[in-house]
Amino acid sequence: MVDAQGRPGGPATPAAPPPGDPAAGAGWVDAPPRMGFFTDTSVCIGCKACEVACKEWNGVPTSGLDLLGMSYDNTGALTANSWRHVAFVEQPRPAGHRGGSEPTEAPASGATEFLGMPAAGPPGRTGTAEGRSDFRWLMMSDVCKHCTQAGCLDVCPTGALFRTEFGTVVVQEDICNGCGYCVSACPYGVIDRRVDDGRVWKCTLCYDRIGAGLTPACAQACPTESIQYGPLDELRERAAARVATLHERGTPEARLYGHDPHDGVGGDGAFFLLLDEPEVYGLPPDPQVTTRDLPKMWQRAGVAALAMAAGAVVAFLGGRR
């Protein structure tokens, strides 16, 4: 198993953690159940209360006053200054929306790719106005995934990123020296360096609140329970039931994302119910933790290092002139 290799482990626990229990893997003894988010985008109304609640509670600075023209998304992405980000996607309904075709065969967009920038033309061209009544507006509150195998945590050279007893991944702001490695290591593009501060910031799953038995600010503020917080096992069960219900009710395109402990990051601590392909929301379709390949990388580096040494030796021994 990949878990055995390249896991951070903490100094004391080189052994492989049990799957899905990253806190124990990080050396926590008698850790509480792993906590996480289930974000059900099928009931998100795009109110952005999560964004505001997060900023208020965590004292996150403003992310800038700029109209992006990306539907109602003026946040743009998860950044050091936006730990929740509500994505807005305007699109025609996927063919077979009410029908019941295979979800994987109902990619919503098919026809067009809107690149969405100024003067590039209006979003989501769909031809005639008449054909536009079957239209949908997807909204999705994105957040740090708190991966089981977290690339950011693995590559952090200072130990600023750590695994909490709740299985979440948190940056210690007094340790981080802003090397930026985690930024490139995150397969979801979540963690980010704050320009005027130099350190990296991201969702902490409100470590201070959940430690005190409270619900994270975003989930607390969500009016429609699109953001649900709780023990991950429970959330996964709830999510599976919700998908089944949606399928029953004629929404075959509903699918879970990040729920599978066998995916490329060992499953997300914050997973989602989506109504379209992940990339439509700006999510990678098949993320993998980069450190999964690290042993092979060192191997290749070792070969190259030997070649380098050999080259030098040959250069000096290869001739007498």
């Binding site: 403003t62 006053l65 003067a119 209006p122 979003p123 106005a129 507006w137 009016p223 429609t224």
Partner: protein, 871 residues
């Protein structure tokens, strides 16, 4: 609803999770549409046509809940033979008086009652927005009425209704609203199939329905459907108004309105109500049925609360101190009076008219012509800085150095920095605690008014002038606490609740109010909120610990009743209509009404009770008359009085429309309130010429991210950044037509103003095919102004001033405009552009289009037309 009421929308989502089907009707695809099962794009301002179509669908297919309709509505009542329907007169009802632009209602009355309609002429009623009084009770009706229980009589309400809406067919709905018939039928089917004995449906509307020149009639149309389907007074039914802010319900109950006193007592009119008895009798209508018989006790107790010991039965409880109405003192008349120099000072609290009110330029010009202006707000808002930074400064219309208005800006405490109650749309009072101290000099409104009154009284102390007695005699003695002498909010709530003056005991309910000066009640409908000396509004027993009606959460007026007219949840014999929908019922063995809620009925009046001849007041209501505040105890499908623009809703085009009314010769609401003032102009509509100069329809509303005029959101970084710029949403088709680019600039022109905005091209707006034409609609948020972290032109600047006749609410949800690419001109060129448009459209400032469309025949005003109008 998701857009402007996301927290309340959680219950819609909850219902959807349980399988409810949600329909959303809106000119543009919003966050609500995104969460709805069916979205119906509609031409703005055509809701009566759509809902009239539903009424026609119900009546044509006989899908009404017949037992309910027959017993609980006035469907069987016979209407006067003098009545001429709009259907037969090109859109005008009988009784129109062109001299005052209002109706004489005599011919609308029930048969045999033509002479006792009270005022008859509605001109004064319109001046004073009298329709607002009916928030808590119906309009007067006297005596017994003729009925036809078979509903076959040609002049019974049912048949009149049927004829009136016969032309509102699915095809006509398509012609007027731009809605395909199959979509319309899907809506009509779902609505009717989910109503009746076993099921109920609820109708939710927001401010977008009220801000029209026919706003009251929109809601009337919805109410007619709900009555026909038996969805009123029953659990899961109703017509729910979502208010525009927290406690707007509270601010009509204890009003911030010129024409009302607390508890919907009308403000006295100088000519109509010279004495206390005149005033009280005008409220209680001696001899009439219903629950207003005790108005004298409410009025006397209110005056006792105002003037305490000074108010005695001998001096009519200081009735003489009450200010009097002399005509229209509504906000728009006030603004025009300011421009004309008739008003010297103005208090502005929790309001930002420079951005939030229609015709922003008029608002700003008016405020710039005062001697003093007091603004209390959380932040420095546009209405406090218009003299220095407003758009009129750029055009030279306001010169800061010369502006005569002295502005006093007083920082206000926010809702978390003070305690008190909010009253929400369900009439539920909920107490809030203070969370933090207000910063700096910020103070609560309570503090401000208490200390303002205290200081004024100190300055006037010893004054011999009679005019100062009203202030000096006030009972102004609230306990205070803290370093700033903050008045005790609970003491105020206790006074609102009312108390026995001799013992100080808080009243248990409004039935304990007396007209002999022994009780003082600040707002009679709130009596009981402080019963037993307990702040009932502060109750917070969790829903899980009580039944589903949750009567122990907060307190609802009246009498902690959670649903009005709940007698209608039982059949005429007092049995629940169905087990599923049981709510309040007659317990035969106990001989009383019982159920989940406080019965909205005399608890021991049996369903079989019939009033003796000549009875009046509550005793005149039968045991199966559930609408106890209505004079005949019935739900009114047809309103013989009380609604000034017609007994039945009728589709009129908005005051500004590119479309000729497809239903009637009459184009707009003939009784709409207009003002002939040089600052005000109206874009031409068909059949006037040049309507094509302003070819597009625009509508404005809110974004989730901002709050109304932006004073509480554009000033706060985490909110401001979420919608950082003023924008206009257009369809791709209109963008192509007008040459607009995504994220480029556009400017919009009306006969009042030109504003600019960034362009968002989106499929969420769809051009509609209406009567063979393509109608393009634009949408704008109205949150932006020139102060705050994010700024932009104000959408409300585009509107002119045209009001609904019943309640004097402005038509600020729809207007016509032109849209052009690029930024707007600045300085003098800006005025020239508007002038040029006016010239091309043939608009003369101050001229108002004729109320009655030329060519529409006007009948005689009616026999009662002795013209009380001040025309």
């Amino acid at each position: 609803m998701a857009e402007a009421h996301p927290v309340g929308f959680q219950w819609v989502m909850e219902a959807r999770k349980r399988g409810a089907k949600v329909f959303h009707v809106d000119p543009r695809f919003t966050r609500t549409s995104a969460s709805a099962d069916v979205y119906l794009p509609i031409r703005a301002g055509t809701d009566i046509a759509l809902l009239g179509g539903v009424i026609n669908y119900i009546l044509t297919n006989e899908l009404d809940f017949r037992e309910y309709v027959l017993a609980y509505t006035n469907a069987a009542t016979i209407v006067s033979e003098d009545f001429v329907d709009a259907e037969d007169a090109e859109g005008l009802f009988s009784g129109f008086d062109p001299a005052t632009g209002s109706y004489v209602q005599d011919s609308w009355q029930y048969a045999g009652h033509e002479r006792d309609s009270g005022s008859g002429h509605t001109a004064t009623a319109r001046e004073t927005a009298a329709g607002l009084r009916h928030e808590s009770h119906g309009a007067p009706i006297a005596g017994q009425v003729e009925r036809d229980e078979t509903l076959q009589h040609p002049r019974c309400v049912y048949q009149i209704l049927k004829r009136h809406f016969a032309r509102y067919t699915p095809e006509m709905v398509q012609r007027v609203c731009g809605l395909p018939p199959e979509k319309f039928l899907e809506l009509a089917r779902a609505w009717t199939q989910n109503s009746g004995r076993e099921r109920t449906g609820c109708l939710i509307y927001s401010v977008g329905w009220t801000q029209h020149s026919v706003g009251v009639q929109y809601i009337r149309t919805g109410a007619i459907i709900q009555l026909l389907l038996g969805n009123v007074g029953r659990p899961g039914g109703g017509v729910l108004a979502l208010r525009g802010h927290a406690s707007i319900q509270g601010s009509t109950d204890i009003p911030t309105l010129f024409n009302l006193l607390p508890g919907y007592l009308p403000m006295p009119h100088h000519a109509q109500h010279p004495t206390f008895d005149d005033w009280v009798n005008a409220i209680r209508h001696p001899g009439q049925k219903g629950f207003w018989g005790n108005a004298r006790a409410y009025a006397a107790s209110l005056l006792k609360a105002y003037w305490g010991e000074a108010a005695t039965p001998d001096n009519d409880f200081c009735y003489g101190y009450l200010p009097r109405l002399t005509g229209d003192h509504g906000t728009y008349q006030q603004v025009l009076d300011m421009i004309d120099g008739k008003i010297r000072g103005y208090f502005l609290l929790g309001q930002n008219p420079a951005v939030g009110s229609a015709h922003g330029r008029a608002q700003r010009l008016g405020m710039a012509n005062l001697e003093w202006l007091v603004v209390r707000d959380l932040f420095m808002i546009e209405s406090a800085t218009f003299w220095q930074r407003g758009p009129e400064v750029a055009t030279g219309e306001i010169v800061p150095q010369e502006c005569r208005t002295e502005v006093f800006f007083l920082p206000a405490a926010s809702h978390v920095e003070k305690e008190g109650t909010f009253t929400q749309t369900q009439r539920l009072l909920q107490w809030r605690e203070k969370a933090v101290d207000p910063p700096g000099d910020a103070r609560s409104e309570l503090w401000f008014f208490y200390h303002l009154g205290r200081r004024l009284r100190e300055k006037l102390a010893g004054s011999p002038l009679p005019r100062d007695r009203a202030l000096l005699d006030l009972a102004w003695d609230y306990p205070t606490h803290g370093p700033h002498d903050e008045p005790d909010a609970e003491a105020v709530l206790r006074e609102i609740n009312g108390y026995d003056i001799a013992t100080g005991r808080p009243l248990a309910g409004f039935a304990e109010a007396r007209d002999d000066g022994t009780t003082a009640v600040g707002c009679w409908i709130y009596a009981g909120v402080y019963a037993d000396g307990v702040n009932q509004a502060a109750r917070r027993r969790p829903g899980g610990e009580q039944d589903w009606v949750a009567a122990e959460w907060g307190w609802a007026w009246p009498a902690n009743r959670r649903m009005l007219y709940n007698r209608a949840s039982a059949d005429p014999q007092g049995r629940p209509w169905s087990d599923r929908k049981r709510y309040v019922w007659w317990d035969e063995s106990a001989g009383r009404w019982t159920g989940h809620d406080v019965p909205d009925f005399e608890v021991t009046k049996a369903p079989s009770y019939r009033p003796p001849p000549g009875a009046s007041g509550p005793a005149a209501l039968a045991g199966d008359d559930p609408f106890v505040m209505q004079a005949d105890g019935k739900g009114w499908l047809y309103a013989p009085s009380g609604v000034l623009d017609g007994p039945l809703p009728t589709h009129y085009e908005p005051a500004e429309s590119p479309v000729r009314n497809p239903l009637y010769g009459q184009q707009g609401n003939p009784t709409r309130k207009t003002y002939r003032h040089p600052v005000n102009s109206v874009n031409p509509s068909p059949p006037q010429e040049h309507s094509q100069v302003f070819p597009y329809v625009f509508t404005v509303s809110r974004l989730t991210e901002h709050h109304t005029a932006g004073g509480m959101s554009r000033t706060v970084a985490p909110l401001a950044e979420l919608q950082p710029e003023m924008f206009v949403e257009v369809s791709p088709e209109l963008a192509t037509l007008a040459g607009l680019n995504h994220l480029g600039w556009a400017h919009l022109v009306s006969a009042r103003a030109v504003i600019e905005a960034k362009v968002l091209v989106t499929d969420r707006l769809v051009p509609l095919r209406v009567d063979g034409r393509v109608i393009h609609q634009l949408w704008l948020p109205y949150h932006f102004g020139f102060e705050g972290l994010v700024t932009g032109d104000s959408a409300n600047d585009l509107f002119g001033i045209t009001l609904d006749p019943n309640v004097l609410i402005q038509e600020s949800k729809i207007g016509t405009c032109d849209v052009r690419p690029g930024r707007r001109p600045t300085g003098a060129a800006l005025g020239e552009l508007v002038d040029d448009y006016r010239r091309r459209a043939g608009v003369t400032p101050g001229a108002v289009p004729p109320a009655v469309t030329p060519g529409v025949p006007i009948g005689p005003p009616g026999s009662g037309g002795d013209g009380e109008g001040n025309g």
